[in-house]
């Protein structure tokens, strides 16, 4: 089992609900984390992010002033802050498809639906530390590669959002089957 030295990770927990902040803090301390900072809305969260430069941000979605989605978009501004590549775990009661897609398109790294569990949070943290995804920058998106799995058999247009299409030069499977062996 891969383990992490939590005592060398710095966390920022952003949630307007004090009860949920306390729960997340308790879980993180239980994992072994020592540095856990908190903020109670998006604006305070952005300020804390700039000040503390956390390794991992755990944020709620629905918050006053600006929400977790807007906060993620502000963090994912290349050149605008100390670490636009920071891992962002969105912890939210939203679980509808359109919400998950919107969070992904705002540049979050992991999505964790409430109710929270120690195992779920631990797995998301391990994933962002052990398996960080490369970032993709297009005209309309900057964030972790939204394709979690590469399909080696895919042949067709490259559908990166918001740009011209590139084509992966690969023979379709049907042609491969038909082609005579050399």
């Amino acid at each position: 089992m891969v383990r992490i030295d939590f005592n060398r990770l710095r966390f920022l927990v952003i949630d307007d609900n004090a009860h949920m902040r306390r729960i997340v803090r308790t879980l993180l301390h239980g994992f072994g984390a020592r540095e856990v900072y908190e903020a109670e809305d998006g604006a305070a969260g952005l300020e804390a992010f700039t000040h503390y430069v956390p390794d991992i941000v755990v944020t709620d979605w629905a918050m006053p002033i600006f929400d977790g989605l807007e906060l993620s978009q502000m963090i994912r501004q290349p050149g605008a802050n100390a670490n636009p590549y920071v891992a962002i775990i969105m912890l939210t009661g939203h679980s509808e498809k359109k919400r998950v897609t919107a969070a992904r398109d705002a540049g979050i790294t992991e999505f964790l639906a409430k109710p929270i569990s120690a195992k779920g949070l631990y797995q998301r943290i391990v994933n962002v530390v052990v398996n960080p995804r490369p970032f993709v920058k297009t005209k309309t998106y900057f964030g972790p590669d939204r394709r979690r799995n590469a399909n080696s058999n895919y042949a067709g247009p490259e559908r990166r959002k918001g740009g011209k299409a590139d084509v992966i030069k690969q023979a379709p499977l049907l042609e491969k089957v038909r082609a005579p062996e050399k």
Binding site: I4, G30, D55, A87, K119
Partner: protein, 191 residues
């Protein structure tokens, strides 16, 4: 605290770039096995949560009170943006916290109330009695946990509220097929 920006390798493809940032967290990965007597970190965190759970009853009570206050503000002031958001956030927080606090059955009517507010194209058309029934259901199920038949009560109330709410939402969104799809669609969140 640490102003040094992480370095990154950039590859350009057509009109997009693939950026591989320096993994500053790599040296936090440990393959060291657990020492004898050392507790698994997940088990340790779960134990810490159990110790905190003495607070949960009071927290659930305060969340129910907050929902009730939001309902009263709505009844007094109508569906203003602020009143609507306060009611939605109170219900949404209960939906997310109820299971953790040890009151999982309370989440059902709170979720139904969130759907009612979120998917109603014109919130002023939401019957006030339907809002009241949701809030009363949340509070009643919370109270009934002390009487051990909360699950039975919750099942009946949640099914009834969900049925009435979905009928209302389907009718209100009858000309919005994209919204109807969302109302009827399943969650895609992995466990």
């Amino acid at each position: 605290m640490n102003p040094r920006k992480p370095s990154a390798a950039v590859s350009t493809f057509g009109d997009y770039e693939v950026i591989t940032p320096e993994n500053k967290l790599r040296d936090r990965i440990s393959n060291r096995p657990l020492a004898p007597g050392e507790e698994d970190p997940i088990a340790r965190a779960e134990r810490a949560l159990i110790e905190l759970s003495t607070e949960f009853g009071g927290w659930m009570h305060s969340e129910c009170e907050r929902l009730d206050q939001a309902r009263r503000a709505l009844a007094d002031g109508g569906f203003t943006k602020a009143n609507k958001e306060a009611l939605f956030h109170a219900a949404h927080d209960i939906k997310g916290e109820a299971d953790t606090f040890g009151y999982p059955e309370v989440a059902g009517p709170a979720d139904s109330l969130c759907r009612l507010i979120e998917y109603a194209p014109d919130p002023t058309r939401i019957p006030p009695a339907l809002v009241d029934q949701h809030v009363d259901a949340v509070r009643a199920i919370y109270r009934e946990y002390a009487n051990s038949n909360a699950e039975q009560l919750a099942g009946r109330l949640t099914r009834a509220l969900r049925t009435v709410t979905d009928e209302f939402l389907v009718h209100e969104n009858r000309d919005r097929p994209d919204v109807l799809e969302q109302i009827r669609g399943p969650s895609i969140i992995p466990e």
